[in-house]
């Protein structure tokens, strides 16, 4: 399933959104970072190498909650401490976020890897959107580089995006790049994820999964809670029936149908005559012309066109 760490190999940017729900509730923060950390933990437990590009929180804060085995697999590229590279070169990542992304591109060469971008919003604010899209595409294209492509050597890219910080343009652009899109929301204290999974050349599937994240960042999937206090949101509006409200009658009653069937039609021949007309006899031509001259017809046997010199 897409939410668990065993997500399908192609890259999967994740969209986490603090949601001010439309109903009159208190605004609850459905934050996505814990989900990101849960996915990172799952990938690390699977034995993959995890690279994290941290921009919004410090390294200590990100590593908090992980035990040592996971922390050993985690390679943290820190952009939070010194994003503009003011300190001495060599200490922080030189060149800014773009160079950091490109370094990630070159670094992962051995074995399956997961790259977590914490967050795409920060990167969108510091890089022009087309360049970010191109770099992300290059990152995720690593699994299809020329030569032997082992299925285990695929790179998974997870990105965290804060929905309300961006307009529809960058959101649409990034979601068209993504293979799986997870939008977080929830009701009544329960977090839910709306997962849109696009398979190549097939219809995308939309799924809603309720989950909760335990303190040690393992993911627990849950069933949908019973919604009693709210009007049930899955009551569809009655489907439209196009045959109602017409000015003519589309349905026949039984009597009308019988009357219709017993009506003799003007050119209805008996079945023998039909067969005779359909299958012409052996010596006949396929079409006849039956001509009955009127009283006013001029039946001149001479061909009037004979004297034309054509």
């Amino acid at each position: 399933r897409a939410v668990s760490g065993r997500s399908p190999p192609p890259p999967a940017p994740t969209q986490g959104s603090p949601c001010g729900s439309a109903s009159s509730k208190d605004s609850v923060e459905w934050e996505g970072r814990s989900l990101l950390k849960a996915l990172v933990k799952k990938s690390a437990l699977c034995g993959e190498q995890v690279h994290v590009l941290g921009c919004e929180v410090s390294e200590e804060e990100f590593r908090e909650g992980f035990d040592s085995s996971i922390n050993n697999r985690l390679v943290y590229h820190d952009l939070f401490r010194d994003p503009l590279s003011w300190s001495k070169p060599g200490k922080a990542l030189p060149g800014g976020p773009l160079e950091a992304l490109r370094a990630l591109d070159k670094r992962t060469g051995s074995g399956p890897a997961t790259i977590a971008l914490d967050s795409l919003s920060w990167l969108l604010h510091h890089l022009p959107c087309p360049i970010l899209c191109q770099t992300l595409h290059a990152l995720s294209r690593q699994d299809s580089c020329p030569g032997d492509t082992l299925p285990g050597e695929q790179v998974r890219v997870l990105g965290l995006l804060h929905e309300e910080l961006h307009g529809p343009g960058p959101l649409g652009a990034l979601s068209s790049l993504a293979q799986t899109e997870v939008t977080l929301s929830g009701t009544m204290g329960q977090a839910s994820a709306h997962i849109l999974y696009r398979r190549p050349r097939q219809r995308p599937t939309l799924q809603t999964q309720w989950f909760s994240i335990l303190p040690d960042f393992s993911l627990e999937l849950q069933v949908e809670p019973l919604l009693e206090s709210q009007p049930p949101s899955d009551l569809h509006t009655p489907s439209v029936d196009p045959t109602t409200h017409l000015t003519f009658n589309l349905h026949l009653s039984k009597k009308e149908r019988e009357a219709k069937d017993s009506l003799t039609l003007p050119f209805q021949f008996s079945s023998e005559k039909q067969q005779a007309l359909l299958r012409p006899g052996l010596g006949q031509a396929t079409s006849h012309i039956f001509y009955e001259p009127d009283a006013y017809d001029d039946l001149d046997q001479e061909d009037p066109d004979d004297d034309l010199d054509v």
Binding site: C129, Q134, G167, G169, A173, P242, Q268
Partner: protein
């Protein structure tokens, strides 16, 4: 170039028709013999390019788009020297199909191909093209589709009994010299067809160096490189008549995928008032100039649903010749509407060009929907009025249709 050829073919065909009609040999109408001059044997040569035919309305040279139903909607086919713009559907599922049909038609007809993409390697795109259907395998496909609605051959038709014995379907495709072929999406095109075809690929991440410095010219570097590549191919291979003695004339089919998406370096999908807002429109203008002076036809798919500025969409539509929009029902409320339950989306013909003509060649049917079956992509008229659309219904889907 195409225009000069068309008047020639028009008069030539009338002359030959009259010559054939006269029974005796004493006639003043003589068929014009083939031109002796080798340099401009354009008239007789143009018509005989494989995979093209002159339009029945105005003699314009047409190529097939790969979907005979779409050809009919566009007035016989896509005119050589024009751009077909496909507005992508929201999840980009059906527009790549039209793109692939166009390219596959080029391979089957023996045209040269130029595939440009920023997302996928052109070699991979070519591997995934659908396989052409030949003759009896096509008939079998249609039989499978129709057999669920099959009528017994001796069923009594009450009113139209004279038509009982007429065959239900028209003949399928016969050979690859036809105009417009049918394809099986579930199968890949055979490898030898790709190898014998001449194709050029443009994959943006390979062509653009990693120096992401902002250029001061008004075209984004990706577009500039693509235009240079296209111009180079047209000149080198002689599609604009620059190397006339080389070989037989052929058509160049250009396919550009996802133009305008951020992967091309264009931020027209990201912001509403972008700095390079004229980049895309300039590209289309220059591309159209390149196409008009060469024997080529181009298909472009564009994610217009992502473009934020509606004025840009209007300008892009005006700069293209034929514009077809796809709207899929996935995720929208139309998915549950029983009116649309048999279909996967709507297809809108937004613009048809008026080339060498005083009137537009618009079809009468305006409400069109498409359906992706397991092996075929069909376009049908949405409103099944019983008698009004009967001739068009039969010729659209070539018999793969319930007899209504």
């Amino acid at each position: 170039m195409a225009a000069a050829g068309t008047c020639g073919t028009g008069t030539r065909s009338t002359g030959s028709m009259v010559a054939a009609a006269s029974t005796n040999n004493v006639t003043s109408f003589q068929r014009r013999g083939p031109r002796a001059s080798g340099a401009d044997s354009g008239c007789s040569r143009l018509v005989s390019i494989a995979g093209t035919r002159p339009s029945v309305r105005n003699g314009q040279l047409l190529v097939s788009t790969g979907l005979p139903a779409l050809d009919q909607l566009l007035g016989g086919g896509l005119a050589v020297g024009t751009v077909l713009l496909i507005e992508e559907d929201k999840y980009n599922i059906y527009s790549p199909l039209l793109f692939k049909y166009f390219l596959a038609e080029g391979i089957v007809s023996g045209h040269a191909l130029l595939v440009a993409s920023a997302k996928e390697d052109p070699a991979d795109i070519l591997q995934k093209l659908p396989a052409p259907l030949i003759d009896d395998s096509y008939k079998k496909e249609c039989d499978e589709d129709v057999c669920s609605h099959k009528m017994e051959p001796d069923i009594k038709m009450k009113i139209a009994w004279r038509y009982q014995l007429l065959p239900k379907m028209e003949a399928g495709p016969v050979s690859s010299s036809r105009f417009g072929h049918y394809y099986d999406i579930s199968k890949r095109i055979p490898q030898e067809l790709i190898e014998t075809s001449k194709w050029h690929g443009f994959f943006l991440p390979e062509k653009i160096s990693s120096a992401f410095n902002v250029e001061s010219c008004s075209l984004t570097p990706g577009y500039m490189k693509l235009l240079q590549f296209i111009q180079n191919i047209i000149y080198k291979e002689g599609f604009d008549g620059s190397n006339p003695q080389k070989k037989q004339k052929n058509i160049l089919r250009i396919g550009i995928q996802n133009l305008g998406s951020p992967l091309w370096g264009d931020d027209i999908c990201c912001t509403e008032n972008c700095d390079t807002s004229h980049s895309l429109t300039k590209f289309l203008y220059i591309l159209r100039g390149l196409l008009r002076t060469s024997l080529s036809a181009c298909i472009i798919t564009m994610p217009t649903h992502l473009i934020q500025n509606k004025a840009v969409i209007a300008r892009v539509t005006n700069l293209s010749d034929t514009v077809v929009g796809l709207e899929s029902f996935i995720g929208s409320e139309k998915e549950t509407n029983p009116l649309y339950k048999d279909y996967h989306g709507l297809i809108h013909i937004r613009q048809i060009p008026r080339l060498n003509n005083l009137i537009y060649d618009i079809s009468d049917v305006k409400d069109l929907a498409f359906k992706l079956k397991k092996k075929l992509f069909t376009i049908e008229s949405l409103l099944r009025a019983p008698t009004l659309f009967l001739p068009q219904v039969v010729s659209f889907a070539r018999g793969c249709q319930r007899p209504s």
